[in-house]
């Protein structure tokens, strides 16, 4: 129904364009009034006044549907003390009602024995609430549909009525549009604020439970030790101190990222040099897009590949030469990640190398240097800043990469620099602490936001550094 009402908003807005235009034309030709703007603009004027209010209201109704649903089902008329309930109790009752709502409208013969006993246990007001819930979608949908037929029509007629020869529609229309496009560009800023505040807000909640210093400097990570002893005492403070130590996650992340960079930097850079300096344009045209496929492959595919083929292969090879290799070694995840970021290094470095002015190369050739000497002694030093920028971007990618490490790295924290041992990462722990649990009232889930904030800050610094370096470099040769 919500979609249908959106269709109505579009259709009605579109038809009001013709209505407004017709009205303007009739003013001009039948009543001989002079129009201040072109007739089209009266059409746009009506459309804008119909479309934007309607679409904004529609969007709010869409987003807050579940809030309306809760208000409708858990009304104080049925449950007089609802305002005093804790969120846990509220959730339990809501869950019970939504289970009831599936069976409450079935006829007697369709009920199983279990259904009947559930119905018997429910209170009178819960049954009514369940019936309300079962009907909610229909009621909400129909009331929406009615609203979105009446509202645009009403707005449309009011707007059309206000059209007169003296009304100069064009500046008004242009003003509205300029506000809309201005607002659109501020949305990007809102998203950044949204990210920042949702991370900071929940991270502060986390640091209410766990000391700031304990988090950043402890070397043990055992979130499962953070459990409630009993309701009155809350969390075991001693265990909390030991539970969330960030250090092993940081070393694990850096370990896997370093393995990835050890793969991606030489391969990516050499590929870029070969493609930019040696390869014929034919080879270049074929090889470059194929290598860029590596960047387009979803990371879940690399994760699957790393866990399924690469990790067992590395384990077998390691055992073949007598080295103990874990099945979830940092090496496997790092290698897969390295392959993934080859194109980030290669295409950025490729651009940078190509931007080095031809005169530098020719000067080097003129004094008798070979091609490789020119590359090593002239081009690479000249392009160094840009290449460094591409490395920084690649590191930032590697640190923030999630699926490969979730699937191929270990879940257990391990303070080690040996790539053959298992290691876990920041992103892995964010995912494991949030899967299947959305209660924001204990440090086990809140820690994800503290980790996310650290990750955000780390990648932000790397990105800003990289962007600044690349920008400076570009200015040098332009």
């Amino acid at each position: 129904m919500l979609y249908l009402s959106l269709v109505f908003v579009f259709i009605l807005s579109y038809s009001f364009y013709f209505y407004g235009k017709k009205r303007a034309l009739s003013l001009k030709f039948k009543k001989n009034e002079n129009l201040s703007s072109l007739p089209d603009y009266y059409g746009y004027y009506v459309v804008l006044l119909v479309f934007f209010p309607a679409i904004i209201i529609w969007f709010f109704l869409l987003i807050f549907k579940s809030n309306f649903q809760e208000m409708f089902v858990m009304s104080p008329v049925l449950f007089p003390d609802v305002a005093t309930w804790s969120s846990g109790k509220f959730g339990l009752i809501m869950n019970k009602i939504s289970n009831l709502s599936i069976i409450v409208n079935l006829s007697e013969i369709d009920l199983t024995v279990g259904d009947k006993s559930i119905l018997k246990m429910a209170s009178e007001s819960e049954i009514i609430a369940a019936k309300n819930l079962a009907n909610f979608d229909k009621i909400y949908g129909w009331s929406n549909l009615t609203l979105f037929i009446i509202l645009p029509v009403l707005l449309g007629f009011l707007a059309t009525k206000s059209i007169s020869g003296k009304l100069n529609a064009q500046p008004i229309v242009e003003k509205i549009i300029s506000y809309v496009i201005k607002g659109s560009s501020y949305i990007a800023i809102f998203i950044t604020f949204g990210i920042f505040f949702s991370l900071v807000f929940e991270a502060i909640n986390f640091f209410r439970y766990v000391n700031f210093m304990d988090f950043f400097f402890n070397t043990a990570w055992n979130p499962n030790r953070a459990f409630v002893i009993n309701a009155s005492e809350g969390f075991d403070q001693e265990a909390l101190k030991e539970a969330f130590g960030f250090v092993p996650l940081l070393t694990g992340t850096l370990l896997i990222a370093s393995v990835a960079m050890l793969v991606a930097v030489p391969l990516g850079l050499l590929t870029a040099i070969y493609l930019a300096e040696y390869a014929s344009s034919k080879v270049r045209d074929i090889a470059k897009p194929i290598i860029e496929i590596l960047a387009g492959i979803p990371t879940v595919v690399y994760g699957f590949f790393a866990a399924l083929s690469l990790a067992p292969f590395i384990k077998d090879v390691g055992e073949g030469v007598g080295l103990p290799v874990s099945a979830e070694s940092a090496l496997a995840a790092g290698l897969a990640m390295g392959v993934m970021i080859i194109p980030f290094v290669s295409s950025l470095s490729d651009d940078v190398i190509k931007a080095v002015p031809q005169s530098l190369r020719e000067g080097s050739y003129a004094i008798g240097a070979t091609k490789s000497e020119t590359i090593k002694k002239v081009i690479l030093p000249a392009a160094l800043a840009g290449i460094m920028g591409s490395f920084l971007l690649a590191i930032s990618r590697a640190i923030g990469e999630t699926m490969i490490v979730v699937m191929a790295a270990s879940l257990r924290a391990n303070l080690t620099f040996n790539p053959l041992e298992p290691a876990t990462t920041i992103t892995t722990q964010i995912v494991t602490s949030l899967i299947g649990d959305v209660e924001f009232d204990n440090p086990k889930t809140l820690v994800a936001f503290a980790l996310g904030l650290t990750l955000f800050v780390m990648t932000l610094i790397l990105n800003i550094a990289a962007i600044t370096i690349v920008k400076k470099y570009r200015e040098k040769y332009e």
């Binding site: 659109s184 949204g194 929940e202 387009g296 999630t402 990105n463």
Partner: protein, 416 residues
């Protein structure tokens, strides 16, 4: 060796390193594709066992006059057992269970659907292809080795002997696995399908597009055409460049903390997943669209202004239409990235076990990549090829989208 020879040898070596690195990178693409396609192709085929099914009225609770609803509600477990007894006469209880395990657990549903479509079949005998269980399917396809010790096999020696005798009678066959494309997720690999995840991704991308495309286009128009360079534009510009490089999992945290936590939107639904993907795609679209707006030569704008168009008319009548191919290309590429993103979907809950095929953006759903993740975590051997097949499907969608993007650019782009 003279110094010149040394230098020339170094030159050769260096060139070889470059070529080697490039070949190795190309080799990685090949090996990845080979691995995925070789494990995944099996999922499109399903092993079936041919059996004579006598629809014995004694074992069927309904008659041919029953309504469709009654037929769908009745139990057919006894009938399924009866069919196995008929086709494998003389089994004791222990062996019966072993033979039953060779057929799909959803055997009775297959019979139910057949009766629902042909109610007159009750009392008659029909020759049907019954789907084999996933474990048997894997043995037949050769994904399980037959020669490992019996204790490590899911199909034991007795079941293997039954399989061989069925095979020698020509009762084993393979059909195209339509279920993979028409079913939702399932606990049994043989009946698990991708359609639910596909629809989940479709709704999420729909939301993502309707959020990110209009806003991205208008924002880039503002930044390129209307505002004079200054502090605020610098802030927005730096901001957008940074947003493009924020790890996707952070967007997932935004969805969880803000959309679900603060606004109270539901968990597990494509609406939230789509909005988060939209936030993520927005910077990509803005960057592509700005580049494309910059590509429109100033003479177009000056020409329009010279004949008396307002700024707004110039932009909306001339500049945007000319820049649209570039914007669309950027949008399609951004959507392709969004389709492959998994981490944000994990955080907003689109990784649950969902059997039903979602009918809208408010129904619980998984996405294509998160379904792949779910299957890859599953212990059942049969899900391995499903995972690879899911990846094949995902990659083909990505290839299609990127091809469309290239075609759009080639066909519509105006060269100045």
């Amino acid at each position: 060796m003279s110094s010149l020879e040394k230098r020339l040898a170094a030159e050769k070596r260096f060139k070889f390193y470059g070529m080697f690195a490039m070949t190795l990178s190309l080799f990685f693409v090949l090996i990845l594709m080979y691995k995925i396609f070789s494990t995944g192709s099996g999922a499109f085929v399903r092993t079936t066992i041919n059996a004579d099914v006598y629809f014995d009225p004694n074992f069927i609770e309904v008659s041919s006059n029953s309504s469709k609803k009654e037929i769908m509600k009745a139990s057919y477990v006894d009938l399924a057992d009866q069919v196995i007894n008929q086709n494998h006469p003389g089994l004791d209880e222990e062996n019966f269970i072993k033979v039953r395990e060779m057929y799909t657990r959803k055997f009775d549903y297959q019979l139910r659907d057949y009766i629902a479509n042909n109610p007159n079949v009750i009392g008659k005998t029909v020759n049907l292809d019954i789907s084999a269980s996933s474990d048997l399917d894997q043995i037949v396809k050769g994904n399980y080795p037959r020669n490992v010790p019996e204790a490590q096999r899911k199909i034991n020696d007795y079941q293997l002997s039954i399989l061989d005798s069925l095979d020698s009678k020509g009762k084993m066959s393979k059909t195209f696995n339509f279920w993979f494309f028409t079913n939702g997720d399932s606990r049994d690999p043989e009946t698990a399908g991708i359609l639910g995840a596909l629809m989940g991704s479709f709704y999420a991308l729909l939301i993502c597009f309707s959020f990110a495309f209009p806003i991205g286009l208008l924002a880039s128009v503002y930044l390129e055409e209307f505002v004079k360079p200054g502090k605020i534009t610098d802030i927005i510009e730096v901001n957008i460049n940074n947003l493009a490089a924020v790890p996707s999992i952070v967007y997932g945290l935004l969805g969880l903390g803000m959309l679900i936590g603060v606004f109270g939107m539901p968990y597990q639904v494509p609406l939230v997943g789509g909005l988060v993907l939209g936030f993520m795609t927005l910077p990509t679209i803005i960057i592509a669209s700005r580049a494309s707006l910059r590509g429109v030569p100033p003479s177009i704008r000056e020409g329009a202004l010279a004949v008396g168009a307002t700024k707004m008319q110039t932009v909306f009548h001339h500049v945007i239409p000319l820049s649209l191919p570039g914007t669309l290309t950027g949008t399609i590429i951004g959507m392709a990235q969004a389709l492959g993103e998994t981490a944000p979907l994990l955080l907003v809950g689109m990784v649950a076990f969902v059997m039903e095929i979602p009918g809208g953006a408010f129904d619980p759903a998984t996405g294509l990549p998160s379904q792949i993740y779910l299957w890859s975590e599953s212990a059942e051997r049969g899900f391995l090829e499903k995972t690879s097949a899911g990846i094949m499907l995902l990659l083909s969608f990505l290839i299609i989208m990127n091809t469309v993007a290239v075609l759009v650019r080639r066909k519509l782009e105006v060269k100045w």
